[in-house]
C-alpha cells in the first residue's frame, strides 16, 4: 500500500502574499476612501465655516441621523442575505401607533410594548413565510407589507396625529449620556452588535454566502431557509422596537410618515457597501456613509444652499460612491 502525501497546492498564493495584498495601497484606499472623504469634508468645513467648530453642531448632526441610522442598520440584515425588506419603516410607524394608542387607552406600558413587539413578530413571520417558504419575491412581499401597514397605522390612529407618548419612553430615548441622547447610543450599540455578528460569527458569513449564491450555500451545508427566515424575523422585530424608539424620540405619531423613512435608510445601507467591507452590506460602512451624507448636507445648509442643492448632493454622492466601488472592485478582480 502506498501513502500519498500531498504538499501545499502550488497554485495557492503564499500566506505572506495574501497578507501583502490585503494591506496593499489600493485595497486600503478602497476600504477607507469613504472615511477619508468624511474626515476631509469635515476638516474643510471646520476651516471655512466657523459654526462647524462647535461641538454642539457636531453632536446635533450625529443625533439627527440616529433614527435613519438605526433603520439603515436594520435594513442591512435582509440585504446581506440577498433580499429586500421594504416594510421596515412602516413596521416602525405601525408599532409606534399601536403603543401610543394602547397607552392612551389606559393599558399599562409593558402591555403596550408587548403588543407592539408582537406586531413586529407577526409581520416578520408573514414576510418570512411568503418569501422563504412560498418563494414570492421579497421586493413584492415587503412592498405589500409596507402598504398594508401604512393602512393599519391610519386605522389604529384614526388618521390622526396622536401625541402624548409615555414619559418613560421619552426619557428612555431622549435622556443624555455624556451629552449625547440615548437614541444615538442605541444606534452605535446596534452598529457594534451587527459588526460583531457580521464579522465574527458564522451566521454573519453564512448571510453573505446566501446573499451571493443561495444554491452554493445550500450545497455547502448551510441552512439557507433557516438563516433567511431568521433574517426577516429579526428585521421585523427590530423594526417594531424601533417604533418604540421613534415614539420616545418624537413624542407623537403621525401615521403618514412611514414612506418618508423608506429610501434614506436603504440609500445609506447601499452607500455603506463602498466602505470598510467593500462590496458587502456592513454596519461600520453604513455608519460612515450616513455621517458623510449628513456632514455634506449640513455644510451646504449652513452655507445657505437651497433645498434642491442638498437633494442633488444626496443623489450624486450615492451614484458616485457606488459607481466608484463597482469600478474598483472590477479592477481588483482583473488584477487578481
Amino acid at each position: 500500500m502506498t501513502a500519498t502525501i500531498t504538499g501545499p497546492n502550488r497554485t495557492d498564493p503564499p500566506r505572506e502574499a495574501r497578507t501583502r495584498k490585503r494591506f496593499s495601497g489600493p485595497h486600503v484606499l478602497q476600504k477607507y476612501a469613504l472615511l477619508g472623504i468624511l474626515l476631509l469634508l469635515l476638516g474643510t468645513f471646520m476651516v471655512i465655516i466657523p459654526a462647524f467648530r462647535s461641538w454642539g453642531l457636531i453632536t446635533s448632526m450625529i443625533n439627527s441621523q440616529s433614527i435613519i441610522l438605526l433603520l439603515a442598520l436594520i435594513a442591512t440584515i435582509v440585504l446581506r442575505t440577498g433580499g429586500f425588506d421594504l416594510s421596515i419603516s412602516q413596521t416602525m410607524v405601525a408599532s409606534a401607533a399601536l403603543c401610543i394608542v394602547l397607552t392612551k387607552a389606559g393599558l399599562p406600558l409593558v402591555v403596550a410594548i408587548g403588543c407592539s413587539i408582537l406586531l413586529g413578530a407577526v409581520v416578520g413571520v408573514v414576510n418570512a413565510f411568503l418569501i422563504v417558504r412560498i418563494g414570492v419575491d421579497s421586493f413584492i412581499v415587503t412592498l405589500g407589507s409596507f402598504s398594508a401597514l401604512a393602512g393599519a397605522a391610519y386605522f389604529i390612529t384614526d388618521s390622526s396625529i396622536v401625541a402624548g407618548a409615555p414619559v418613560e419612553l421619552v426619557n428612555a430615548v431622549r435622556s443624555q449620556l455624556l451629552g449625547i441622547p440615548l437614541v444615538t447610543w442605541y444606534a452605535w450599540a446596534l452598529a457594534v452588535i451587527l459588526w460583531f455578528v457580521y464579522q465574527r460569527t458564522p451566521v454573519g458569513r453564512y448571510m453573505v454566502f446566501i446573499g451571493g449564491n443561495p444554491d452554493a450555500a445550500r450545497l455547502a451545508g448551510i441552512q439557507v431557509q433557516r438563516v433567511r427566515f431568521g433574517a426577516y424575523l429579526v428585521s421585523a422585530l427590530l423594526s417594531s422596537l424601533m417604533g418604540l424608539v421613534f415614539l420616545g424620540y418624537f413624542g407623537a405619531v403621525d401615521p403618514g410618515v412611514g414612506s418618508q423613512y423608506l429610501l434614506q435608510p436603504l440609500a445609506a445601507a447601499f452607500l455603506g457597501t463602498t466602505a470598510i467591507v467593500v462590496g458587502r452590506f456592513n454596519a461600520v460602512g453604513t455608519v460612515v456613509a450616513l455621517y458623510l451624507l449628513i456632514v455634506g448636507i449640513t455644510g451646504l445648509q449652513v452655507l445657505g444652499a437651497q433645498t434642491w442643492v442638498t437633494n442633488v448632493f444626496y443623489g450624486l454622492a450615492l451614484m458616485i460612491a457606488v459607481t466608484a466601488s463597482k469600478l474598483a472592485g472590477r479592477k481588483r478582480r482583473i488584477a487578481g
Binding site: 474626515l39 469635515l42 467648530r53 448632526m61 441621523q65 396625529i161 401625541a163
Partner: protein
C-alpha cells in the same frame, strides 16, 4: 501603511477638535443679532395681538338652501392626502351631506398629481354635481378641471391661497383662510412677546402654497415692524422629506444661531419634528404654529413643547361650510364667499384645548347651518 493612515487621521481629528467650542445652549435670549435688549414695539401692536386672541364669531349661512332640489345630488371631496385635518374636514362634509340628502364620495389624492387627476376624472365619469378640492392647487390639474367644467360640475378650491387671490380656472371660488394675514399675526405675537427683540426662525415648505404665504407674511411683518432690532430667517423643507429633514435642519439652524428666540412652523402637524429638535439643541425658543389641530391644542394646554397656534375653527365646520358653498353653486345661487376665521391661541386662552374653550361659538355649528338652510 494602514496604521500610518489611521494615526494621521486620528491626530488630525484631535487637532481640529481642539479648536471646537461648546455650543451655546443656555436660553434663547442672548442673541447676537439683537443689540438693543430693551427694544420697544410700535404702539398698538399689543392691542392687535390681544384682539386676535378673542373668540371668533360663528360664520354661518345667512340664507336658506333648497334641500329638495339638492336631494340625490353627488359631491366629491378630493383631498391632497389623508391627515388628521383633512379627515376631520371630510367628516364635516359627510355630515353636512347626510343632513342635506346629498351623496358624498371621499377620494384620497395620496400626495400624487396623478391621483388628483384620477379622482377628478372618476367624479366626472360617475356624474358628480360638485367637487371640493382640499389643498390641491388647481393649476396642477387644470386640464381635468376644464373637463369637469365642461361637464357642468361646480368645483370649489379650499385651503389653496389667500381669499384675495384670483379664482383659478375651472373653479368657482376659493374657500380659505387669509394665510398672509395669519403669518403676519404670528410675527406680531413673536414681536410683542419679545418686546421687539425677536430672532425668528420660520419653518415652512414653499411648494405648499398656503405655507409659503404664511411664511412671507411673517417675514414681511418682522422686516417692516422691527427692521433694526429683530431678525428673521426661513427654513425651507422639501415636502417629500418633512419627517426626516425638519428635525435635522432645525437642529442645525439652532446650533448655528443659538440666539433664536421664536420658532414659527407654519403648520401644527410639524410639531412632532419641531419639539425634539428644539430640545436637542438646548434652545429656549418659543414655538408658535398654525392650524389648531387637537394634538397641538393639547400640547398648549399642557404647557408642553408648543406655546401657541393660530387656530382655525374645527375642521368639521370647514367641511360644512365647503359643502354649503358647493351646494349653492350646484343650485346656481351666489357664493356666500366664506373666509375661514382664525384665533391666536396661547396658554392664556386655550383652556383645556377643547372646542368649547378655543372656539366657543362653534360648539353647535351644525345646528346653525341646518336652521339657516331651513329658512
Amino acid at each position: 501603511m494602514r496604521k500610518a493612515i489611521v494615526i494621521t487621521a486620528g491626530a488630525s481629528i484631535a487637532l481640529l477638535l481642539m479648536g471646537c467650542t461648546p455650543a451655546v445652549s443656555s436660553g434663547g435670549t442672548d442673541t447676537s443679532s439683537n443689540v438693543d435688549a430693551a427694544g420697544s414695539c410700535p404702539a398698538g401692536l399689543a392691542d392687535e395681538v390681544a384682539a386676535a386672541m378673542e373668540p371668533t364669531e360663528l360664520v354661518a349661512p345667512e340664507s336658506g338652501l333648497d334641500l329638495s332640489a339638492l336631494a340625490g345630488k353627488s359631491i366629491w371631496y378630493i383631498t391632497f392626502n389623508q391627515n388628521q385635518f383633512s379627515t376631520e374636514m371630510s367628516d364635516g362634509v359627510e355630515e353636512a351631506g347626510a343632513a342635506a340628502g346629498v351623496d358624498i364620495t371621499i377620494f384620497d389624492g395620496q400626495n400624487s398629481t396623478s391621483k388628483y387627476s384620477e379622482g377628478i376624472n372618476q367624479a366626472i365619469a360617475q356624474g358628480a354635481d360638485g367637487i371640493i378640492l382640499m389643498a390641491i392647487q388647481p393649476a396642477v390639474v387644470s386640464a381635468d378641471l376644464a373637463a369637469a367644467e365642461a361637464a357642468g360640475i361646480s368645483v370649489l378650491s379650499t385651503l389653496n391661497g389667500d381669499p384675495t387671490e384670483p379664482v383659478e380656472a375651472g373653479t368657482f371660488a376659493n374657500f380659505t383662510a387669509d394665510y398672509t394675514a395669519d403669518g403676519s399675526l404670528m410675527a406680531k405675537w413673536a414681536l410683542n412677546d419679545s418686546n421687539c427683540t425677536a430672532d425668528v426662525l420660520v419653518v415652512q415648505s414653499s411648494p405648499v402654497h398656503v405655507w409659503d404665504l404664511a411664511a412671507q407674511g411673517i417675514e414681511a411683518t418682522v422686516n417692516e415692524t422691527c427692521p433694526e432690532d429683530c431678525a428673521v430667517k426661513v427654513l425651507d423643507i422639501d415636502p417629500a422629506n418633512i419627517a426626516t429633514d425638519t428635525g435635522t435642519q432645525l437642529q442645525t439652524a439652532l446650533q448655528v444661531d443659538p440666539g433664536v428666540t421664536h420658532v414659527l412652523p407654519v403648520w401644527d402637524s410639524a410639531m412632532p419634528y419641531i419639539a425634539p429638535a428644539v430640545a436637542a439643541a438646548g434652545s429656549a425658543a418659543k414655538v408658535l404654529a398654525h392650524d389648531g389641530i387637537s394634538a397641538s391644542l393639547e400640547l398648549i394646554a399642557s404647557g408642553q413643547d408648543q406655546d401657541g397656534t393660530v387656530a382655525m375653527p374645527p375642521p368639521g365646520w370647514i367641511g360644512w361650510a365647503a359643502f354649503d358653498e358647493v351646494a349653492r353653486a350646484i343650485l346656481g345661487t351666489d357664493s356666500p364667499g366664506y373666509v375661514i376665521p382664525t384665533r391666536l391661541v396661547t396658554s392664556e386662552n386655550v383652556g383645556d384645548g377643547s372646542t368649547e374653550s378655543v372656539s366657543p361659538n362653534y360648539t353647535d355649528y351644525q345646528a346653525a347651518f341646518s336652521e339657516a338652510w331651513a329658512q
